[in-house]
């Protein structure tokens, strides 16, 4: 089941889970995703080849989407 995970002070929080055949759950997850983007988080899709992609909309068919904070030079 695809999940939306936010990396935060608790370690990580699962914000939403959805199924491809459940539009209502997906809409709720997409709304949660957009809300987190508004709060300054960035969305990343973790891909099976070990890479990650920056995303601005929640994809229906990626099993794990991770929200991260911005990075900056120290």
């Amino acid at each position: 089941m695809p999940r939306l995970i936010r990396m935060d002070q608790t370690g990580h929080t699962t914000l939403a889970e959805w199924r491809a055949d459940d539009p209502a759950a997906f809409e709720a997850a997409a709304a949660a995703f957009r809300e987190q983007l508004d709060h300054g988080y960035f969305g990343l899709a973790a891909l099976p080849d070990g890479s990650a992609e920056q995303i601005t909309e929640l994809p229906l068919d990626v099993p794990t989407v991770i929200l991260r904070r911005p990075i900056a030079g120290g």
């Binding site: 608790t10 990075i71 900056a72």
Partner: protein
């Protein structure tokens, strides 16, 4: 307990054909995007800078001893300066891998679960003993810590140390590493562009300034970078002789 693994899927709905880079790059528009030739130029500049700082001191020491052997103690002080300057730079580079005080245990444990799902068994073992994650990229092998990353260049002779961190001070250590790891996987060149270069120099010089457990990660990265690399082999996981970032097959 696990976060459930990270199997894949299509991103066509979200990203189109071209993957996006890091949005953070917009915050440093004056910096040229890092690539291989730029890294070589930067490395040469650091070498010249180090020589510029130390050569006059060594020359002055030699001159003093030649002209008046009685000034040998002064010459020794000059030589010590010439030795200390590169060591201080290397120490600054080693600082990017130093960790903070541990955060709350529960949060740290949850963060470790997520980080563990992002890396494979060998990388997890290395993280257990060193607190660092090894990731192979196009520019070289990256050693990622909480507050920065060290790039071991192909050939394993030169390292670049970068200060870079996730914003916010409340994140557990493993989460900080996961932030940097994911940003690096998203776009390695943007990652190196956003990060601040703290040191570029010889591997051996950095190694002496590292904690023993961090040397394990540096040694692993050097081993990877010493091997001849297959070019154009597709995915990041396929490129990695250590397969350090292949997700679990669950």
């Amino acid at each position: 307990m696990s976060t459930g693994g990270l199997p894949g899927g299509s991103l066509a709905l979200a990203t189109g054909d071209r993957p996006a880079g890091l949005p953070e790059r917009a915050s440093v528009p004056w910096r040229p995007r890092v690539d291989d030739p730029l890294l070589r130029r930067v490395g040469r500049r650091w070498t010249i800078g180090t020589a510029w700082h130390t050569t006059p001191l060594i020359a002055a020491a030699a001159l003093l001893v030649t002209l008046a052997p009685v000034t040998a103690p002064v010459a020794i002080v000059l030589l010590a300066h010439a030795w200390i300057i590169p060591e201080l730079y290397a120490s600054r580079g080693a600082g990017v891998l130093r960790s903070r005080a541990p955060s709350r245990r529960g949060a740290e444990r949850r963060a470790l679960l997520l980080l563990g799902d992002l890396i494979d068994e060998r990388a997890r073992r290395l993280h257990e003993v060193s607190g660092l994650v090894l990731e192979l990229g196009e520019l070289g092998a990256w050693i990622i810590g909480e507050r920065g990353a060290v790039l071991v260049r192909p050939g394993a002779r030169r390292v670049n140390c970068y200060c870079v961190r996730a914003t916010g001070s409340d994140l557990p250590a493993a989460d900080r590493i996961a932030h940097l790891l994911l940003a690096l996987r998203c776009d390695e060149r943007d990652f190196a562009t956003v990060a601040n270069l703290a040191f570029s120099g010889a591997c051996w010089r950095l190694r002496r300034r590292l904690r023993p457990e961090h040397r394990l990660a540096l040694d692993a990265a050097r081993r990877v970078c010493s091997r001849p690399r297959a070019r154009g082999t597709g995915s990041a996981a396929a490129r990695s002789p250590l397969a350090v970032h292949a997700p679990r097959g669950r």
